[in-house]
C-alpha cells in the first residue's frame, strides 16, 4: 500500500512538469507581450525596458522558465502587478469563498443524484424512470449562464421588487462563517440545478448496468427482494465509480465558481483570476493556473488511493 501511494505521488511529477510547460508556452510564447498589455499603447521605450527587466522578460526563454519554476518550488511567488498584493495571500483568501460557493452544492447534488439514480434503477422502464431521465436531459440542456440570470431574477430580484421581501441578497459576499450563509445559498442552488442532470444520468446508467449483472440475477433467484438488492448489493458495488466521480469533479468545480463568482461578485479564485486577465496581470494568471492544476493533480492521486482502499480488486501496481 505504501509503495502504491509513493508511486502515485511520484507519478505526479511528470504531469506537473507537463502542466508547467504548457502554461509557460501559452502565456510566454503564444500570448501577447505582457509588457505592452500591461502598460498600454502609449508606453515609452524606457518604461517598457524597465518593466521588461523587472519581470525578467529580457532573459532567454529557458531562463524565464527556470526562474518561474524556482518561484513555484520555493513558494516565493512574488507580488501581483496590479494590486501589489502577495500572490500566495490572494490565493489563500480567494480559496475560502470559492469552496463555500461550490462544496455544499457538490455534497447536495451528489446525494440527490445518487438517490435519483437508484430510484431509476428500481423503477426501471416505468414512467418514474422515464420522467426522471427526461427531466435530467432537460436540466442538462439549459445554459449555465441562463440559469444564473433567471435564478437571480426570479429568486433574488423579483421578491424584493414585487413584494418587498428580501429572500436572498442579489449580489455580494461577506467573509466569515455565519455572515456568508445568505450569500452562498443561491449560487449553491444554481450549481445543484445545473449539475443534477448530468450526474443523475451518470449514476442512473451505472446503477442500471449493475442491475443487469449475473450476481443480481442469482440474488433474485434466491428470493432477495429488490430493495435489499438495491441497497445491499448495487449501492456497495457502484460506490467505486461514485467515489471516483465525486473526488475527480471536486477541483473541477472551479468552472462553476468562475461564472458564479463573476456573476454574484464574490471575491473567490475565479473572480480574482478573471480580474487578473482583464488587467493583463500575467504573473497572477500563470501562478493561479499552476496552483489550481497542482490541486487537481493531488486530488486525482488521492482519488486513485481512495479507490484502491475501497475496491480490493484494484491492482496495486
Amino acid at each position: 500500500m505504501l509503495t502504491f501511494i509513493g508511486r502515485k505521488f511520484l507519478a505526479m511529477i511528470p504531469t506537473l512538469f507537463g502542466v508547467s510547460i504548457l502554461v509557460f508556452v501559452i502565456f510566454n510564447v503564444v500570448g501577447d507581450d505582457p509588457v505592452y498589455l500591461y502598460l498600454g499603447k502609449n508606453a515609452t521605450a524606457e518604461d517598457v525596458e524597465i518593466l521588461r527587466q523587472s519581470l525578467g522578460l529580457d532573459k532567454p526563454l529557458w531562463m524565464q522558465y527556470l526562474v518561474s519554476m524556482k518561484e513555484l518550488l520555493t513558494f516565493d511567488l512574488g507580488y501581483s502587478m496590479s494590486s501589489k498584493q502577495k500572490i500566495t495571500d490572494m490565493f489563500i483568501k480567494g480559496a475560502g469563498p470559492s469552496i463555500a460557493l461550490t462544496l455544499p452544492a457538490l455534497i447536495m447534488y451528489s446525494g440527490i443524484s445518487i438517490i435519483l439514480g437508484l430510484v431509476c434503477a428500481f423503477y426501471r422502464g416505468t414512467w418514474v424512470d422515464k420522467s426522471i431521465a427526461v427531466l435530467a436531459t432537460i436540466g442538462m440542456s439549459i445554459s449555465y449562464v441562463a440559469v444564473m440570470i433567471f435564478a437571480q431574477y426570479f429568486i433574488a430580484f423579483m421578491p424584493i421588487e414585487k413584494w418587498g421581501i428580501e429572500l436572498f441578497p442579489i449580489t455580494g459576499y461577506e467573509t466569515g462563517f455565519p455572515d456568508c450563509i445568505p450569500y452562498i445559498i443561491l449560487p449553491n442552488l444554481i450549481t445543484v440545478f445545473v449539475a443534477l442532470g448530468y450526474n443523475t444520468r451518470f449514476f442512473r446508467s451505472i446503477a442500471v448496468e449493475e442491475m443487469n449483472k449475473d450476481y443480481i440475477r442469482t440474488a433474485r433467484a434466491y428470493g432477495a427482494n429488490t430493495r435489499t438488492i438495491l441497497f445491499k448489493h448495487v449501492l456497495k458495488n457502484i460506490m467505486i465509480p461514485i467515489i471516483a466521480r465525486v473526488v475527480v469533479t471536486l477541483p473541477f468545480m472551479i468552472t462553476g465558481s468562475f461564472l458564479l463568482e463573476q456573476f454574484f461578485v464574490v471575491p473567490g479564485l475565479g473572480y480574482k483570476l478573471l480580474h487578473a486577465i482583464e488587467s493583463a496581470d500575467f504573473k497572477v494568471v500563470r501562478t493561479f493556473t499552476m496552483l489550481i492544476a497542482t490541486l487537481v493533480v493531488i486530488t486525482n492521486a488521492f482519488a486513485d488511493i481512495l479507490n484502491s482502499m475501497v475496491d480490493p480488486r484494484v491492482k496495486l501496481s
Binding site: M140, I142, S143, A146, I149, I277
Partner: protein, 312 residues
C-alpha cells in the same frame, strides 16, 4: 438426404453482410424520439444554411437598427421612411438596446452556433482521432509522450485552458474556435486510443499486417472505419459542448465580438432583464435550449443505435 425437399427459408431482410453503419441507420429510423430530434436539428441546420447563403437575416440586416430601442414584442412603432413619411410597424420579437431587431439577431445566431459547433466538433475530433490512433497503434515512446500531454492537459480544469488560450489568441471568432477545439480533443483522444488498442489485437488487423499492408493503411483503412460510431458520437457531443461554451465565453467577455450570437445576447442582456426587458435573453435562451435538447436526445438515440448489445 435430399436438400431439395427442405423448405427454403423466407428471406425477409438482407441481414447478411450488413455493416454496423447500415444496421445502426435501420435501428435509428425506428427510434421515434431520435427521428423527431433529428428533424428539429435539421430545421435549425436549414435555417443556418439559408443565413449562410444570404437568403435572409444577413449580417447587415441584423446590425442595422430598425426602430427605437427596447420595443417590447408585439408593440407598434413609427417607422420613418426614406421620403420623410412615417409608417406604423409591428415589432414581433422586440428590439434590443440599439434598436436592432431581436428576431433577426436570433435567426442570425443560429448560423453562428452552427459555424462554431461544426468547426469545433470537426477540428477537435480530427485532432483527437489522429493523435489517438497514432498513440494507440504505435504505443511505445509516441504513446508515452502523447499520454503525458493528455494527462497534463486534463489536469487543468478545461475552463482555464479555454480562458488561457482565448486570452493568448485574442477575442473573436478565431479565438473561440481555437480555444474550444484545442481543449475538447482531450476526451476524444483518450477514448479513441483505448478503442484502437482494443481493435489492434483483432484478427482482421493481424490479417492485414500479414498481407504486408502499410501501417497508415491499417490505421486509416482498417481500424478507423470500425470506429465510426465513436467518432459520430463525439462529433455530436463536442458540437453541443461548443455551443454551450460559447455562451460561457461570451459571458466572460471572450466571445465573438461585433457579430450577434446567442452567447452575446444572453450575457449582454442580463441587466436588461432586471429593467423588465426580458425578450432578448429569453429568446436566445429558448432557441439555444431547444437546439441543445434536440441534439442531446439525438446523441442518446445515436448511442443506442450504435450499441450492438441492444437488438433492433
Amino acid at each position: 438426404m435430399t436438400t431439395a425437399t427442405l423448405e427454403k427459408p423466407v428471406k425477409k431482410e438482407p441481414r447478411f453482410g450488413e455493416s454496423l453503419f447500415t444496421k445502426s441507420v435501420r435501428k435509428f429510423r425506428r427510434d421515434r424520439l431520435g427521428m423527431a430530434s433529428l428533424s428539429i436539428v435539421g430545421v435549425y441546420a436549414v435555417i443556418a444554411l439559408c443565413v449562410k447563403l444570404g437568403l435572409f437575416c444577413s449580417l447587415d440586416l441584423t446590425t442595422t437598427p430598425v426602430g427605437p430601442q427596447h420595443i417590447a414584442p408585439g408593440q407598434t412603432y413609427q417607422h420613418i421612411l426614406a421620403d420623410g413619411k412615417t409608417e406604423e410597424r409591428v415589432s414581433w420579437f422586440g428590439t434590443d438596446i440599439r434598436g436592432n431587431s431581436v428576431g433577426r439577431k436570433l435567426i442570425y445566431s443560429i448560423k453562428q452556433a452552427f459555424a462554431i459547433g461544426i468547426m469545433v466538433a470537426f477540428f477537435s475530433v480530427l485532432i483527437g482521432v489522429v493523435l489517438g490512433s497514432i498513440s494507440g497503434y504505435f504505443g511505445g515512446r509516441v504513446d508515452d509522450f502523447l499520454l503525458w500531454v493528455y494527462t497534463s492537459m486534463s489536469s487543468v480544469p478545461y475552463i482555464l485552458w479555454i480562458i488561457a488560450i482565448s486570452y493568448a489568441f485574442g477575442k473573436g471568432f478565431l479565438g473561440v474556435i481555437v480555444a474550444l477545439s484545442s481543449t475538447f480533443w482531450v476526451g476524444v483522444y483518450f477514448n479513441i486510443r483505448a478503442e484502437v488498442r482494443r481493435l489492434k489485437e483483432m484478427e482482421y488487423v493481424l490479417a492485414s499486417e500479414s498481407f504486408g499492408m502499410t501501417r497508415m493503411r491499417i490505421i486509416f483503412g482498417d481500424i478507423l472505419p470500425n470506429m465510426t460510431h465513436l467518432i459520430s458520437i463525439f462529433l455530436s457531443l463536442n458540437f453541443i459542448a461548443a455551443i454551450k461554451n460559447e455562451v460561457i465565453l461570451a459571458f466572460l467577455g471572450l466571445g465573438i465580438a461585433g457579430e450577434p450570437s446567442w452567447g452575446g445576447m444572453i450575457s449582454s442582456a442580463r441587466l436588461d432583464l432586471i429593467a423588465g426587458k426580458w425578450w432578448e435573453v429569453t429568446g436566445a435562451t429558448i432557441l439555444l435550449f431547444i437546439l441543445v435538447m434536440a441534439f442531446n436526445l439525438f446523441t442518446d438515440s445515436l448511442q443506442d443505435a450504435f450499441d450492438p448489445k441492444k437488438v433492433g
